[in-house]
Amino acid sequence: MNVFPFSFQDCHLEASGAGALFWPEERILVVSDLHLGKSERIARRGGQMLPPYETIDTLTRLDAEIERTAPSVVICLGDSFDDLQAGAAIDDQVSDWMTRLMAGRTWVWIEGNHDPGPLEIGGTHLFEYRVGPLVFRHIATPGARGEVTGHFHPKARMQLRGRSISRPCFLYDDHKLILPAFGTYTGGLYSDSPVFDPLMREQAHAILTGQTPCQIPMPRSD
């Protein structure tokens, strides 16, 4: 999997094609919106019985990113579990797996809107986490600087010789960086949604995920 190197707040970062962010200098790996246990939650609420494999799949991909980068810190930017009950309901296979992933490194769970409270699982639970000029939170706040967040599941589309391609993407400008959702069962919000207008400045970029991540000016509404 290729990575796209870029600079944010004078930090040299790498956006991976899988949708994870790596900061080599600090050996920090960041992923957002894992939404573990989503199928379970939908079934519990009397909805459809979706293929209950998204937790395994998400962890498999996270495992690969950890394998690739060997981080000393992993930050999950919130909405790691689809809700608190989903966090409590994980089975032994999953919790053993997560224990193995956490071993020998600092693990930070940022609180999200889906999983606001503490979880019966290892790692540190925080509202926000600061390293150097960067602050890691779940939801972007207008006016904040050096902020790395998730929540919106941004994606972008581009027109290519009559074809439209849509991919989850990173969005960033001078002050803010928003990560795509890393979870398997996640949709996305197009970057041209008005939601992003107050958050991203004129000169914002989008890094599209995929086999070869690439950067374009952030597509926005006119």
């Binding site: 019985m49 209950p52 919106f152 290519l160 069962y185 949709g187 950067q215 000016p217």
Partner: protein
């Protein structure tokens, strides 16, 4: 019909205009006249809401004239809530409805009471229903109805079909048989091809060149129906027709994407005889009997002889007079197609493909509907559904797997022990949470609209609804763009609460509304006739311009021949195109496209996409094809079949349809979409996940089976390859050929998601960055 009134199942086959609908009602009216009992006596099912409306009107008059006191009501998606509740509490004697409304009625707990005492069900236009999942759903509903009312008799009404016995089997309550009643087919139609001074264009699908001639025809007849194959074509033609309509002849438009209010207006004007012509699509295909139609014009090649005959039947709804129809080819290729169709009609040669067994996604929905209406015994339900024609051969194991899917999700590796949808209590299956019935009811039906958005005129009052466009089309619009809808050019202003807001704008030339519409497949019988025409040394019975065009194709390249395979490769618009003229039918050509693009991807030709018609597969990509013969190895192709089966866009589309019908995912509802898009995710993700973790899951099995029906036809590809082994004519040309030109206008392109996409993305990213940085 009265003679057959006591038979458990009767199929009446009569040409359009034969009065078969009234014949279907005759026994019911006779019985109700003799002993007028309250309660539901006869259920009439039609595929179209409009037809139910129309029948109500046409039935009312004779019933009133005889002085019968009979309650006749319709019940469709348009019926008000109050009226529906009343109908459930106190059903009318004759209820006119659609398959979906019947399925909904059967999902209620009081279904046994509603249908207690029903004597007869009349299925109108059963030939049309028998071709789709709607018909399969209806036959399952009838199996349920038969249990609720064991003396129920079935009447099927069908237009002329090539295989009446197959339709009879479809309708029967097995093991009973269906009695066939064949009516006199009536006189042959008067059918010709329009020849104009200006020849049709080299390519194009609109038939715009024929507008002056069509206006002349409209003027000379009482009422003309102008049929089109797609909604978008109907819109463009209608627009151009009005630009040329100096005399202001009253002409309307009718198709399925128009708002209900718009359609109702046109229908009313038509009944009142106020319209000289109606530009329409398949929405007027079926036997709605209105107005004084004396001419049918078909714009574009009819693609299918049976459908053409049925459309022609719309003219002159009198039994003994010949119907009059004129075919208008839209381009020169279609002249050959129209000629082939004319020959076939004259030879009374109808076409059609035998239909496979009933799809299991529809069965899953039926099981859920049954659960919504109350607890059931699995063995009883199995016995019941196997009385339905399409499910007659369903094995107990297959039924069991569908039931397990409905109950537990049917997953191999993990189970929803706590959250099953259906649970077994005291031997009976039922909903774990009775509130789930509501969700099941909301998802009833097998017609999947592409996700569409309503279009409204923007003003302070909220604005008049104009119709719907596909969401994918709406997504390509930016404010100021113009498009056609309901014959008007409108300007896109913005999207508000999932409604496309537009203003009237008559000045600019429009972007075209990309309606999906119905896409017909040319039958293989017609394809064969076309190849025979190609083989002629000259074409004295075709118009000169067409004969010259075929001669030109023969000169610059060659014409496809039986027993050989012609492939043309040429550059066009910065891409290399290859056309493979296999004449193997749309299904096989489509599969061929999938297989070849996969092999080209492996060999580094970077294909971008392909499209298939009944005659050809056209593939485009970044690198020209050099030695196509190497792609056509049967062994390699067969090996490729397994691989592509898994990963292609067509399978994902089929999966989405089956997953929605089978109840794995919800039909998208507007209300839900509003609440935030990042909460919903694409069905492609579910497909990929299942393939990875549960490759034998029922839904994937169903997807494979349904895709096989729709597109694979691998046997025909093998046959074609074997027949043409070593007989490949590869022509490398410097430009598009006369024969290839019409292919560029076909809809239904299938993208190939491969390396080419990455390559293009990198290029485009560079371009955008360069633009942004002003370098």
């Amino acid at each position: 019909m009265l003679e057959a009134a006591a038979d458990p199942s009767v199929l009446l086959i009569a040409p359009t205009g034969g009065g078969k609908t009234m014949a279907g009602f005759l026994p019911t009216l006779a019985e109700l006249a003799k002993s007028p009992k309250p309660g539901l006596h006869t259920l009439y099912i039609s595929p179209l809401k409009a037809l139910a409306n129309d029948i109500k009107r046409n039935l009312r008059t004779p019933v009133d004239e005889i002085g019968l006191d009979i309650r006749i009501e319709d019940r469709t998606g348009d019926t008000t809530q109050t009226q529906r509740r009343k109908q459930r509490a106190d059903p009318p004697q004759i209820l006119l409805t659609t398959p979906e409304s019947l399925a909904l009625l059967l999902s209620y707990e009081d279904a046994p009471r509603i249908f207690n005492g029903i004597q007869r069900v009349i299925v109108d236009e059963i030939h049309a229903l028998a071709e789709s999942k709607r018909g399969d759903q209806l036959m399952l509903a009838l199996s349920r109805l038969q249990t609720l009312a064991p003396t129920l008799r079935r009447v099927g009404l069908s237009a002329t079909v090539e295989d009446p016995a197959a339709v009879a089997k479809f309708l029967a309550c097995h093991p009973n048989e269906t009695r066939l009643v064949l009516a006199d087919p009536g006189p042959d139609p008067d059918i010709t091809m329009l020849e104009t001074e200006t020849p049709p264009p080299w390519s194009g699908a609109g038939g715009k060149y024929a507008i002056p001639a069509v206006l002349d025809l409209v003027r000379a007849h009482n009422t003309t129906l102008i049929f089109h194959n797609t909604r978008a074509q109907a819109e463009i033609f209608f627009h151009n027709l009005w630009l040329a309509n100096d005399e202001q002849l009253p002409i309307g438009i009718h198709h399925g994407s128009l708002a209900r209010e718009q359609r109702a207006k046109v229908e009313a004007a038509m009944v009142a005889g106020q319209l000289k012509a109606i530009v329409c699509t398949g929405s007027l295909d079926l036997g709605i009997d209105w107005g004084d139609v004396d001419l049918v014009v078909q714009i574009g090649a009819p693609k299918n002889v049976k459908r053409l005959v049925q459309r022609i039947g719309r003219a002159n709804h009198q039994y003994n007079a010949p119907s009059k129809a004129i075919l208008v080819p839209a381009n020169r290729f279609e002249i050959v197609e129209c000629k082939a169709a004319l020959d076939a009609v004259i030879a009374h040669e109808l076409d059609g493909e035998p239909r496979g067994r009933g799809p299991r996604d529809v069965l899953c929905q039926h099981i859920l509907i049954r659960a919504a209406s109350g607890p059931f015994d699995a063995a009883e339900l199995y016995a019941e559904v196997t009385t339905a024609g399409p499910y007659h051969q369903l094995s107990p194991e297959e039924f069991e797997a569908c039931l397990d899917f409905c109950a537990t999700g049917g997953y191999a590796l993990r189970a929803y022990d706590k959250y099953q949808r259906l649970v077994q209590r005291d031997g009976l299956w039922q909903l774990r949470d009775p509130r789930a019935a509501r969700q099941i009811r909301m998802n009833i039906g097998t017609i999947l609209d592409n996700e569409t958005l309503k279009v409204r005129l923007k003003n302070r009052m909220g604005g008049a609804p104009l119709g719907e466009v596909e969401e994918a089309f709406a997504a390509t619009l930016t404010s100021g763009d113009t498009f056609l809808i309901g014959g008007q050019v409108v300007r896109y202003e913005g999207l508000r609460e999932m409604v496309v807001e537009v203003t009237r704008n008559a000045t600019k030339s429009p972007k075209i509304a990309a309606f999906a519409g119905t896409k017909f497949a040319t039958s293989t019988q017609l394809s064969d006739r076309i190849l025979s025409i190609f083989a002629q040394p000259s074409w004295p019975d075709l118009p000169d311009h067409t004969a010259q065009w075929l001669a030109l194709q023969r000169h610059v390249s060659q014409l496809p021949e039986k027993g050989r395979l012609l492939i043309e490769t040429f550059p066009h618009e910065a891409r290399s195109h290859s056309c493979i003229y296999g004449f193997a039918g749309r299904n096989a050509q489509q599969t061929l496209g999938l297989l070849l693009t996969q092999r080209m991807e492996e060999q580094g030709f970077d294909p971008l996409g392909f499209l298939a018609t009944d005659y050809a597969t056209m593939i485009w990509g970044l690198t020209p094809l050099e030695d196509p013969a190497s792609l056509f190895d049967v062994v390699d192709l067969r090996e490729g079949l397994e691989t592509w089966l898994a990963g292609n866009a067509v399978m994902k589309r089929t999966f989405r349809a089956s997953a929605i019908i089978g109840g794995l995912i919800d039909k998208m509802t507007v209300g839900k979409r509003k609440s935030g898009r990042q909460a919903t995710f694409s069905s492609d993700i579910l497909y990929d996940t299942l393939r990875k973790y549960d490759p034998d899951h029922l839904m994937l099995d169903i997807t494979r089976e349904e895709a096989m029906k729709g597109l694979i036809d691998f046997g025909r590809i093998e046959h074609m390859v074997a027949r043409t082994q070593g007989q490949i004519d590869h022509r490398v040309l410097d430009r598009i050929t006369p024969l290839a030109a019409p292919l560029f206008l076909e809809v239904g392109k299938v993208p190939v998601k491969g390396k080419a996409e990455e390559r293009l993305m990198a290029e485009e990213a560079e371009r955008l960055i360069a633009m942004a940085t002003g370098s």
